[in-house]
């Protein structure tokens, strides 16, 4: 526990974060690459075709991991916003703002791949049903957080305002998740996260889970890449940043 606590405190310092993340990035990159390649191969080649949807269901392997990630990223974003608001931790706000753009990207991917899946299966690109609408709202939340953050010249004000919007927006997460149960939606119900266990064939399920874990590592990777840039911008006036350039070996 002491070790974990120490690690947590070290990550709270921008300089330590910069150094630790520098050594973690290659690991996250390799793990996510292996998982995504494996998942893609299993999902595109090995998994059997669906008895109802044929080959078109293979969109699931990019659609569902993106959609899950869009919600996971929002959870991380909102929790770090909360930590930032309560404990005024510098790095928490960095994690918050550096999660917003990846979150928006994956929400967009989930929406577009969903649309590409909806066209052949439902016969329409878009429907104002609860699941689709709440996911679209998530995209607007991400964009709103980014816009609000960028609209302040003073950084602390920007962080605080964006964090409040982020925390308020949490209400949308359960709405997205339960939308397929609460309302009659065109979108199909959950096939993986359900109380009676997954209702998918294991040969279809495994590639999906591998892809999802791969996407999580990928998010860890791009979060660290972005956070390191943010740290460099915020700490530009500190001597340790100048030292980075002097000892170029560590600056990679």
């Amino acid at each position: 526990m002491n070790v974990l606590l120490k690690f947590y405190h070290r990550l709270g310092s921008p300089r330590e974060f910069y150094e630790i993340s520098g050594s973690l990035i290659p690991w996250f990159g390799t793990i996510s690459l292996i998982l995504i390649l494996t998942g893609s191969y299993l999902g595109l080649v090995v998994a059997p075709a669906d008895y109802q949807q044929g080959e078109s269901y293979r969109i699931i392997y990019v659609h569902v991991p993106s959609a899950w990630l869009s919600m996971l990223i929002y959870t991380v974003l909102a929790v770090s916003a909360m930590i930032g608001l309560i404990w005024r931790m510098k790095m928490a706000y960095v994690v918050m703002i550096c999660s917003a753009a990846p979150g928006a990207w994956f929400t967009l991917v989930a929406l577009i791949t969903g649309s590409l899946w909806g066209k052949p299966m439902w016969g329409t690109w878009w429907q104002w049903d609860a699941r689709l609408t709440s996911e679209l709202l998530l995209l607007f939340l991400y964009i709103g957080i980014i816009a609000l953050y960028n609209s302040f010249y003073e950084r602390h004000l920007a962080e605080k305002s964006a964090a409040i919007l982020a925390v308020v927006g949490v209400i949308n997460l359960p709405i997205i998740h339960y939308s397929v149960e609460w309302w009659n939606t065109l979108h199909q119900g959950s096939t993986v996260i359900r109380s009676d266990g997954p209702s998918m064939d294991v040969r279809m399920l495994w590639p999906l889970l591998i892809m999802a874990v791969g996407f999580n590592f990928y998010y860890g990777l791009i979060l660290m890449l972005r956070a390191r840039n943010q740290v460099l911008i915020q700490e530009a006036r500190n001597s340790w940043v100048a030292e980075l350039v002097v000892n170029k070996g560590q600056a990679s």
Partner: protein
Amino acid sequence: MSFNEFLAMGGYAQYVWSSWLLTLLVLLWNVIAPRYKHKKLLQQVEIQTKREQLKNSTNKI
């Protein structure tokens, strides 16, 4: 299953492959863009550091 059959995706090729391609592009972009920015930021810091060193040395003269 032949390679052509694989590419055809049972007639859903345009939907399946455009979804995968979009995802691939987004995954690549989100790694390339911050890496490029990181390089630029380090260059900026380097220029700034050199400028300050120069200022300090001329002050001494």
